[in-house]
C-alpha cells in the first residue's frame, strides 16, 4: 500500500468520524417524549373501526396510504423493466445441473410447506404481522430455491419468464381494478369500506374489505418481480461460465 492511498483513507476516515459526531449531536437534540401524536394517533385509535383490519400497519399501507403503495409497486415494476432490458432475455438450454439427489428429495418434501408459509403470510396480512410484501418475498425465495436445487433449466421450463410477466401484470391489474371499483361506485380511488367492500367480523380471515385483495395483488407483483430479477442475473452468470 503506497503512502498516498493510506493518507486518502485516513482523511476519509477522519471525515466520516466527524460526520458521525455531527449526526449523533443531531440525534441527541431530538425530543423523545414517547407519545404517539398526529396522524399516527388517529390511526391507532380508529383504524380497526374504519378499515376492519386488526394490523394497523396493514391498514395504513393498504387503506389510508394505498395510493402510495400503488406508486411503490410501480417502482418495483420499473426496476424489473430496467434489469430485463439491460440483460438479454433468452432461454438457457444447458445450465447448472442442480444439487444432489438427496437435496432434491429433501427440498421436494419441504416445498409445499414453504408455499403454505407464503400463503399464510399473504392471506393473514390484515390480522397479524406480514402482508403482501413479505409473502411475495417468500414466494420469490421459493423460485430462487428451485433454481439453485433443480438447476436453472428447471426454472426456465416450469416457470418461464412469460408466466412471471403474466403474474406480475395480473397483480397490477388487480390492484388497479380494486382502485377503479371505488371510483366507479363514486367514493374515490382505492376507497375501502365506504366503497361497499364487505367488512366482515373483525379478527377473522374474511374481513377488512379490500385489504386482502390488495395484499394478494402486491404479493404477486413482488414475488414475480424479484424472481424475474434473479432470473435475469443468473442468466448472465450462466452465460459467462459457458463462454
Amino acid at each position: 500500500m503506497n503512502i498516498r492511498l493510506a493518507l486518502s483513507r485516513l482523511a476519509s476516515m477522519i471525515l466520516c468520524l466527524s460526520f458521525g459526531m455531527l449526526l449523533f449531536q443531531g440525534i441527541a437534540a431530538l425530543d423523545m417524549d414517547n407519545r404517539v401524536t398526529g396522524a399516527a394517533a388517529h390511526y391507532l385509535s380508529n383504524a380497526p373501526a374504519e378499515t376492519g383490519a386488526n394490523n394497523i400497519v396493514s391498514a395504513i399501507l393498504f387503506d389510508y396510504r394505498a395510493f402510495d403503495t400503488l406508486g411503490e409497486s410501480t417502482v418495483i415494476f420499473t426496476a424489473v423493466c430496467g434489469i430485463a432490458m439491460l440483460f438479454p432475455r433468452k432461454q438457457i438450454l444447458h445450465s447448472a445441473r442442480g444439487l444432489s439427489f438427496i437435496t432434491r428429495r429433501g427440498i421436494g418434501f419441504v416445498a409445499p410447506f414453504i408455499l403454505m408459509y407464503a400463503a399464510a403470510i399473504i392471506l393473514t396480512g390484515h390480522l397479524s404481522p406480514g402482508g403482501g410484501f413479505q409473502g411475495g418475498t417468500v414466494l420469490a425465495t421459493f423460485t430462487v430455491l428451485m433454481c439453485v436445487v433443480y438447476g436453472s433449466g428447471f426454472e426456465s421450463t416450469h416457470l418461464p419468464p412469460w408466466k412471471k410477466d403474466l403474474l406480475e401484470s395480473a397483480g397490477a391489474l388487480l390492484f388497479a381494478g380494486v382502485g377503479l371499483f371505488g371510483l366507479i361506485v363514486g367514493t374515490g380511488f382505492l376507497s375501502n369500506l365506504s366503497a361497499g367492500f364487505p367488512s366482515g367480523a373483525p379478527g377473522t380471515l374474511f374481513s377488512a374489505g379490500s385489504i386482502p385483495f390488495l395484499n394478494i395483488a402486491v404479493a404477486l407483483k413482488v414475488g414475480a418481480g424479484l424472481s424475474t430479477i434473479f432470473y435475469c442475473m443468473i442468466n448472465i452468470v450462466e452465460d459467462r461460465r459457458g463462454s
Binding site: 458521525g20 449523533f24 400497519v57 418495483i76
Partner: protein, 111 residues
C-alpha cells in the same frame, strides 16, 4: 435503549459512508450504499418506539408503538431492494464492457 438504536444507526451509516469514500470497487460502493440505507431505516423504526410499547395490532394490551414508521420503512425497504438490484445490474454490464469494476479505470466514452 433508544440511544442504543440511534447510536448503532450512526455507526452503520459512517461505515457505509467510509466504504463509499475509500473503496474504488463499484460493488463495494453499492454495499456501502445499502449499509447507509439500512441505517436510515433503523433510525426511522427507532423513532417510533415507545419503551414498554406493544406491537400495533388490535386489540392492544398496553400502549402501542407508533405504526407510521413501520409502514414507511416497509415501502422504503422494497424500493431500496429494487434500487440495489438495478445498480448491481448496471455494474455487471460495466464489468462486462470494460473488464473491471474499478471506478478509476472506467474512464471515457467507449462505443
Amino acid at each position: 435503549m433508544l440511544m442504543l438504536g440511534y447510536s448503532s444507526a450512526v455507526v452503520i451509516f459512517c461505515t457505509g459512508l467510509y466504504t463509499i469514500m475509500a473503496r474504488r470497487n463499484l460493488f463495494k460502493t453499492v454495499i456501502g450504499l445499502s449499509l447507509m440505507e439500512a441505517s436510515v431505516l433503523l433510525v426511522i423504526v427507532t423513532s417510533g418506539f415507545i419503551p414498554g410499547g406493544v406491537p400495533p395490532i388490535a386489540p392492544f394490551r398496553g400502549v402501542a408503538v407508533n405504526p407510521l414508521p413501520h409502514a414507511f420503512t416497509l415501502t422504503a425497504i422494497v424500493i431500496g431492494a429494487s434500487d440495489i438490484a438495478l445498480a448491481l445490474a448496471f455494474i455487471v454490464k460495466l464489468n462486462k464492457h470494460y473488464g473491471t469494476a474499478d471506478i478509476d479505470k472506467i474512464r471515457g466514452l467507449r462505443g
